[in-house]
């Protein structure tokens, strides 16, 4: 391990610029041909974990490890007791073997005596892990203009940029810190958008969540950098249950980036997160995700089970929420980032690219709940299926009686590569008043022979032609991402587009 340290450092760029990405072309092609998961290494680091299994004692232990106040523990226990009465949902178009919740470890943390005060105190091995992930740190971070809250397994390791943000009154810290330092905000907002009894996986998360990110933007403040969190699952047999809570006060703005990856394991690992967003009057939150959890191997072995509840609340007038997601990882994705449009004139947006290849299954979409007058929502979903992948869009547009003049536009496109994959679309539109307008468009197609021939007749190889067609198919969504993220997204999608069946 130590022998590699130097070369590892040199070869670990930050999130790349477009130019750098071009230089990596050769590497890309190699990756495309092998089609292998890039982030599949394990960090050799001492960790502290508790025994597998779930009961009230485990929850008390987690809470104690975190030095949590009693009210937090009570909330967890309430959630746990409710969870015991719930059934795992099985309505999604996904198939997976039964999850035994008693074999999962609910807490794991890099072992250390004291919490680090700065990056210098963070275990160098851990920092290298993040460098390998391509996360910008320190100077790189300044250049990239990204502040990162790193969540490694269950503990938030270090938060950078905090000082600068503090001066503006912005709070960006781990969830645990927020519980200790900003209890009033947590008490007020935790579970306000996703109640602990909302669904099976949200209840589980509420009981055992280990850490996550908290972000508070005060009135009138425009957050000057993209706030970013990188999640990574490292330990074996652990579930990662993080929570994110973002509050944008009146007239404020924040763009938040979330990236995820996990090492290669033969076992399936559970990830059940909860994200809550609250936008008050005239506030705007942009939430971008690149989800690249380990998708399992080409035979469908291993991979992350990703059951996530993400919901935003446009509470104030003229508020705006926008979800942009690029879902390329996980063996199973069950995720419906949604917007509750309560404030008058509020806007909800959902832009999504979901790729399912090999034996991946993605059941994802959104819910737009229109409550306030003149609320608007826009849904653009692009699903790509290849090999044996199964991709499902599931969406609900609900316009209540109170939502006079509400408007929705939905577009759900599916692209299939090869003959063994599938694409499903389940849009539901429920309109309760006559002044509302909804518009729905959908397209399902296969990567066309004529398109391939056209590109290939210009000298472009089949793999590269497929990559072009696929990235073109989701170009409109990728353009919604901040630059560094869009470069990474294109690279990820290209990496996944190895030769289809025709090669064998």
């Amino acid at each position: 391990m130590s022998k590699n340290k130097n070369s590892m450092n040199r070869n670990t760029p930050s999130l790349q610029t477009a130019a750098e990405a071009g230089r990596d072309k050769k590497k890309q092609i190699e990756e495309r041909i092998s089609g292998e998961y890039k982030h599949g290494w394990v960090t050799d680091i001492e960790e502290e974990r508790i025994l597998p299994g779930l009961n009230e004692d485990v929850i008390r232990l987690i809470s104690k490890k975190k030095n949590e106040p009693d009210w937090m523990l009570e909330w967890r226990l309430q959630a746990y007791r409710h969870w015991l009465t719930m059934k795992e949902p099985r309505w999604a178009a996904i198939e997976y073997s039964k999850i035994d919740y008693q074999t999962i470890t609910y807490y794991s943390a890099p072992k250390r005596e004291n919490q680090p005060k700065s990056l210098d105190e963070v275990d160098p091995e851990l920092l290298r892990t993040y460098q390998r992930l391509g996360i910008p740190l320190q100077e790189q971070k300044l250049l990239a203009g990204v502040a990162t809250d790193m969540v490694f397994d269950s503990v938030s390791v270090a938060t950078t940029f905090q000082k600068e943000l503090e001066e503006m009154g912005i709070i960006f810290c781990s969830f645990n810190e927020a519980i200790r330092n900003h209890p009033d905000l947590i008490k007020k907002y935790i579970g306000s958008v996703v109640p602990y009894n909302d669904n099976f996986f949200a209840a589980l998360n509420s009981a055992v969540f280990s850490d996550g990110s908290f972000c508070y933007i005060p009135e009138g403040v425009q957050c000057p950098v993209d706030l970013s969190t990188y999640f990574r699952i490292n330990a074996m047999n652990i579930g990662q249950f993080e929570r994110t809570l973002i509050i944008a006060e009146k007239g404020s703005y924040v763009s938040y980036l979330e990236g995820c990856s996990a090492p290669i394991r033969d076992e399936n690992q559970l990830h059940a997160a909860v994200v809550e967003l609250i936008a008050l009057e005239d506030a705007e939150i942009k939430y971008s995700t690149i989800q690249n959890w380990y998708p399992g191997d080409k035979y469908g072995l291993g991979g992350i089970y990703n059951f996530v509840t993400k919901r935003g609340w446009c509470k104030g007038r003229n508020s705006k929420l926008s979800w942009t997601q690029v879902e390329t990882g996980s063996s199973i994705t069950w995720k419906y980032p949604s917007c509750i449009l309560e404030g008058e004139n509020s806007i909800g947006e959902f832009y999504s690219v979901a790729v399912a290849t090999n034996y991946q299954q993605a059941d994802t979409g959104t819910k737009m709940i229109h409550i306030g007058k003149n609320t608007r929502s826009k849904i653009i979903s692009k699903g790509i299926s290849a090999r044996h992948g199964r991709n499902t869009y599931r969406g609900l547009v609900k316009i209540l009686e109170s939502a006079r003049n509400a408007k929705n536009y939905s577009r759900c496109d599916s692209l299939m590569i090869g003959d063994n994959c599938s694409a499903n679309t389940f849009p539901t539109i429920d309109v309760r008043n006559t002044t509302a307008t909804t518009e729905h468009e959908a397209y399902t197609g296969k990567v066309g022979e004529e398109q391939l021939f056209y590109l290939m007749s210009r000298g472009i190889s089949e793999e590269e032609a497929i990559s072009l067609i696929v990235t073109g198919f989701c170009a409109d969504i990728i353009r919604k991402l901040p630059l560094e993220f869009s470069v990474e997204a294109v690279r990820l999608i290209e990496t996944m587009m190895v030769l289809p069946e025709s090669v064998g």
Partner: protein, 259 residues
């Protein structure tokens, strides 16, 4: 006509089938550098099928015969490999690739050709130059390939690719269809400028119209999946005047084949 060197492009006794139906029934042609050839034939004679087969379209299978570029057999190569050997097909119905910008597409194509990286160095300059020559607005480069293009714009993009990819043998399938007279003139001028002593073109056309602007050295009449006559440019004029029927009668071959 030339020394004993291998001709630039040659195909021998080529048969083409589409879904088991024989469309092209044994054709031969030799094209040397610096030459302009035209294949003329009525609708449904199999001209386009021949062009697609020469470029390697998977649905047009060559059931017999061989194709050579500079003596090298390319009959079993993939379309991209043929392109890398210097073959190009300007298509009659260019297809849209939504989300892929013209500039990104052109760069990717050039990069995949021999000396691609080297050639990319002058890409910006070349693009600007040829856009101007073809009367293409520069904003064209940021549009998606053929997506929402008019017929004329599609054909200009085909010729722009001919200009930038610099193939040694360009097959131009019905380049004049969909062009009004002004556009036809611009596109024809473009083609004339691109023809030199190191490359050659093979135009495929139903009408003689484009041949007024791009003068062929040889005209081959293609009816019923076969070449029935070869001549100079005067043959094109004769066909324009008299139609294809007299040749069908004379040769006893009818054009009743599906394109």
């Amino acid at each position: 006509m030339t020394e004993k060197r291998e001709p630039l492009f040659r195909f021998e006794d080529v048969y083409v089938a589409v879904e088991d139906k024989e469309i092209v029934k044994g054709v031969n042609l030799i094209i040397n550098t610096g030459e302009k050839h035209a294949i003329m034939g009525p609708n449904g004679s199999g001209k386009s099928s021949l062009a697609h087969a020469l470029m390697g379209h998977p649905n047009y299978s060559i059931t017999k015969g061989k194709i050579f570029i500079r003596g090298e057999d390319i009959t079993n190569l993939k379309p991209n490999e043929r392109a890398q050997k210097g073959l190009f097909l300007g298509m009659q119905y260019p297809i849209a690739i939504p989300g892929v910008t013209v500039v990104n597409f052109l760069r990717t194509a050039i990069k995949s050709l021999p000396n691609g990286e080297e050639r990319l160095k002058t890409f910006r300059k070349d693009l600007k130059l040829h856009c101007k020559a073809l009367g293409i607005d520069e904003s064209f480069a940021t549009r998606y390939v053929n997506d929402g293009f008019s017929g004329g714009e599609k054909k200009r993009l085909e010729i722009l690719q001919f200009a930038l990819l610099k193939p040694s043998i360009a097959l131009l399938d019905e380049t004049d269809s969909g062009l009004d007279i002004d556009a036809l003139q611009i596109v024809s001028n473009g083609i004339n400028q691109l023809c030199g002593k190191d490359n050659a073109i093979l135009m495929i056309t139903h009408y003689q119209r484009i041949l007024n602007y791009v003068k062929p050295d040889f005209v081959h009449v293609f009816i019923g999946g076969k070449f029935v006559r070869t001549g100079g440019p005067e043959l094109a004029f004769e066909l324009e005047k008299r139609g294809y029927e007299w040749l069908e009668k004379e040769t006893g071959i009818s054009a009743g084949v599906n394109e």
